[in-house]
């Protein structure tokens, strides 16, 4: 099985936010939650770079390790998913996540955050694939239909890559060789460093 990952080639990202919008639309993501976002580093200075970031579907995912009810699971493709039925909205996964991926429908006190929501790599949740129940909680299950995440598919400059980690890393390295520069595989060290196989 392939180990799927995201890779944002920041030297190509034009901060158009199409990935952000496509994601919100595809999954009917509630107000206030952005499963994907674009962060611009050194904004307005020479050499600024924009990075599109969502859940990185980490190896030995910090969110899964700290969840008090252990509601996360990793699919055979390496996608980190969770069960909204089991989630108690405690916020721990947000504290542990290096990429600020987990978000909550409410910014409440007294534990009224609501169920955690995050990027699913367009792979839905524990419900049966492509059912209305799955859509309501997690959004579209594109992976089950043999499609890649909508954000990467939408990317006009092909900055955002999704797919087999080994292949997209290879594509990125070829690009860097060809053009002679690259600002790095953003998040990869933090998300996958511990594991040689990634």
């Amino acid at each position: 099985m392939a180990r799927v990952k995201f890779l944002c080639d920041a030297d190509r990202c034009i901060e158009c936010n199409a990935c952000v919008t496509a994601c919100k639309n595809e999954h009917d993501v509630p107000w206030g939650i952005n499963r994907r976002r674009v962060v611009t580093i050194n904004d307005g200075k020479p050499g600024e770079r924009s990075v599109s970031m969502a859940c990185m579907h980490c190896t030995d995912a910090p969110c899964a390790a700290v969840c008090p009810v252990s509601c996360f699971y990793t699919t055979a493709d390496g996608v980190v998913l969770h069960s909204k039925d089991l989630c108690i909205g405690c916020g721990y996964c947000f504290y542990a996540c290096p990429f600020g991926a987990p978000q909550y429908p409410k910014v409440g006190n007294f534990g009224s955050r609501g169920k955690m929501d995050k990027c699913t790599y367009c792979a839905g949740g524990p419900e049966a694939d492509s059912t209305p129940a799955e859509y309501a909680k997690y959004g579209q299950n594109r992976l089950a239909e043999g499609k890649l995440p909508i954000c990467a598919e939408m990317c006009s400059t092909k900055s955002l890559l999704a797919g087999d980690g080994a292949i997209i890393a290879e594509i990125y390295k070829e690009r860097v060789m060809k053009r002679g520069y690259g600002s790095g595989m953003w998040g990869w060290k933090t998300a996958y460093s511990d594991s040689p196989t990634g």
Partner: protein
Amino acid sequence: MPSVVSHLRSILAPLCLAFALMFAVAAPAAAQLSFKPTDQAVHEDKLLEALKAGEKVTGRITIPDRMAASLIQPAGREWRDFQRSMLPWIGGIAIIGMTVLLAAFLLIRGRIRIEKGFSGRTILRFASFERFMHWVTATCFIILGLSGLNISFGRSLLLPLIGPEAFSMLTHWGKLAHNYLAFPFMLGIATMFAVWVKDNIPSRMDWNWIKAGGGLLRNGQHPPAKRFNAGQKGIFWMVIIGGVLMSLSGWFLLFPYQAGDVTSLQIWTVVHAIVALLFIAGILAHIYIGSVGMEGAFDAMGTGQVDVNWAKEHHALWVEEEQAKGRTPAGAPPRGMPAE
């Protein structure tokens, strides 16, 4: 025609000059045209290297959620490691260690008896308000403690036993209880401080009590004490300091993002967890000595009336004070249960 050409020329000449001037002025700027995206571009590796502990790689975002501006916070992984490897050790040593210690103490020393036996006469040790305050705080503490332990260790200890659905439901209710009972608990801590602090100021007598091992180690030894002996004062201050630390750290977790961002939440959860485990271990000792560990001790918080012989053995000076105030005439007939 020529007039037109000469006219044109008269316009073009200054224009050309102007262009030439512009390029001359712009010459230093030409260096910027050869700006290489490679040299000055931000690079992830350099940003990560420059990060200090607890810092994040941040930028600008165009969505309203300010927290989303944080791109990478490597500290999240350290927090995970603390939750996964450190916390079970701290919890195990504190709680299992204390339980083993108390069991060993019970085995070796046995139950501490009233040496002269029950006299049948009692003296009021804790008024009903004091007992009410104690038990409200204690009940909150037990529920807070169990639901807190469940958050940290339930997934390893309880989840495999009762299954994910039941465990999730239980943890959900536990979390709600934890959030709401925090308030009566904080009130209880504040009230206990106000009511008992005057009897808990450390004094020279406490030193002697400690040197004598509190009379806990050997029979027949009863260092004098006023209302509270050094051991009880220790428990009092542990509860106050622990309670304040728990309240403070818990407050920031109850109202997230008011004190700061995710880094401060990580720090407060660590403080909350470590103090809680030490606190629970300390309270285990308190529960032990107030129940199985010492004969006659439970009555103080149970009925509020303690046996005069117990009081004289453990709080000789306090009994004298009370008698001087005429609250318990020596040799008064046995008192029944207080009307409550």
